[in-house]
């Protein structure tokens, strides 16, 4: 079972299918027949769907590194790491489609001249800007030119983007949308677990140091 999962997650084709399939969902009338919002305003449905998918893919890529820290020996988690860049760039592509769809929905760019000032839109715009920069700096050549230290530092901006997207998603609705809990909840739990683990380990090391009579002079 584990090896099968590891095999699948190792395959680029499988991961690509997992990332592309949700984007095709609204084009598949079989799945959307029950939803009157499709018939009433199909453009809005697609707009929401692309934004939602962008957020899901973003959370997925953010889950990769805490998962590696928590389950450092579990093969499926290890092999999937090789797709980080692919999944990350996919999140940007979905966000770009969502933004493009926004302009279809609005019927042009005229409304954007004033709308960008709304905190809700501005926050989406900044998040999109970050994802754009991160996607643009994912090219091998750029990574080399930046150097891994600076690259890593720059790419921490993805956490800022995630927080902005969370705000953007919540404020898109009149009442609090419950789906943000099950979408961002696992990410928060995984990050807490990573931090918790690091703290516990750190304490363990300190305790060990003291037991050996070592430690820093600060003690």
């Amino acid at each position: 079972m584990n090896t099968l999962l590891a095999r699948l997650l190792q395959s680029r084709a499988f991961v690509a299918a997992c990332v592309v399939a949700p984007g095709l969902w609204p084009a598949w009338p079989l799945f959307v027949t029950g939803d009157s919002s499709v018939a009433a305003d199909p453009a809005k449905y697609v707009l929401h769907h692309l934004g939602f998918t962008a957020a899901c893919v973003l959370v997925a890529v953010l889950l990769l590194s805490p998962l590696r820290a928590i389950l450092p020996r579990w093969r499926p988690v290890l092999v999937v790491q090789r797709h980080r860049r692919f999944v990350g760039v996919s999140a940007f592509v979905y966000a770009a489609l969502h933004v493009a769809m926004h302009f279809v929905y609005e019927g042009g760019f005229a409304t954007f001249r004033t709308d960008w000032q709304k905190p809700f839109i501005l926050v989406g715009l900044v998040a999109f800007g970050i994802l754009f920069i991160l996607a643009a700096t994912s090219l091998d050549r750029v990574v080399r030119a930046l150097g891994s230290r600076r690259w890593k530092w720059l790419h921490r901006l993805v956490y800022v983007a995630a927080v902005l997207v969370l705000y953007h998603q919540i404020s898109a609705r009149k009442v609090f949308p419950e789906q943000v809990l099950w979408l961002f909840g696992p990410l928060v739990v995984a990050e807490l677990a990573r931090v918790g683990r690091a703290v516990v380990r750190g304490m363990g090391r300190d305790a060990g140091d003291r037991a050996l009579g070592g430690g820093s002079g600060a003690y």
Partner: protein, 323 residues
Amino acid sequence: MHIRIRKDWELPESAATDEAVACSAGLGRRRFLRALGAGLAGAALAPALRAATGGFPSAPDAAYPAGDFKITPENLATSYNNFYEFGTGKDDPVVAANRGWKTEPWTIELAGEIEHPGRWDVNDLIAKLGGIGQRVYRHRCVEAWSMVIPWNGFPLAKLVALAAPRASAKFLKFVAFNDPSSAPGQREPILDWPYVEGLRLDEATHELAFIATGMYGKPIPNQNGAPLRLVVPWKYGFKGIKSIVRIEFTARQPRNTWQQMAPQEYGFYANVNPTVDHPRWSQASERVIGGGFFSGKQPTLMFNGYEKQVAALYAGLDLRRNY
């Protein structure tokens, strides 16, 4: 010969049939019907629980010539609903409101600062007020989308006259039903139940203010607020409280549910106003439901196009502060 002069708030009925509009929405007819089938199946399976059948059948009024306004396809107006008592999804109410929720018999209570308080059976009330008529109104949701709907019902002013307000009555407070056992949304703290709305007395007696007991020439479906709901076409849709059980005439301005929920975003007046934005989105334009994928938005009109009729109600009022 009888010549009928159409008042300009009586929107002309377009010649477009539901189907023609559905096709212009870019959906093939088959697909369109299939798309709605699942949602409507829930409604069809439910036994006829509709209330307020008084005055029906009421045929659409042929005296209105075709005009620019396209009536929203009936199957969209009756399946794309904000009725949080039955869930926050637009497609929730058409299913959840037709799972045995009884809207007949139904009584409505008139109370407060009036000469004739009491409880009325809805059908008796309709008969007492002289039956129902039809009006085609624009409907503008605060979420920046719009429909055009032929409502059946009676002017709210008639009901106010029946209640006979005292001099102390300045406002109307409308209260919706509260029945968590039938309404799944009411089992959750989405809003502060029951839903409450309010109007100033002079707004309520304005000739445009309407109580709908039907739409598209038929009794109003549960998901649209059976058996009777408020329709105030120059205000955002959330003012149109559904499934009313009580109207209280008060001296003090009532706090409506959305105002209570987020006072910085939703006010008491909620007049449609393209120059005063919602804090999170623009109100300058609106999506037309059933308008098609690439239709873009159309400009929103001051007081939703009823400025000539209602602007005088708000003379001297700062509409920016009293949003």
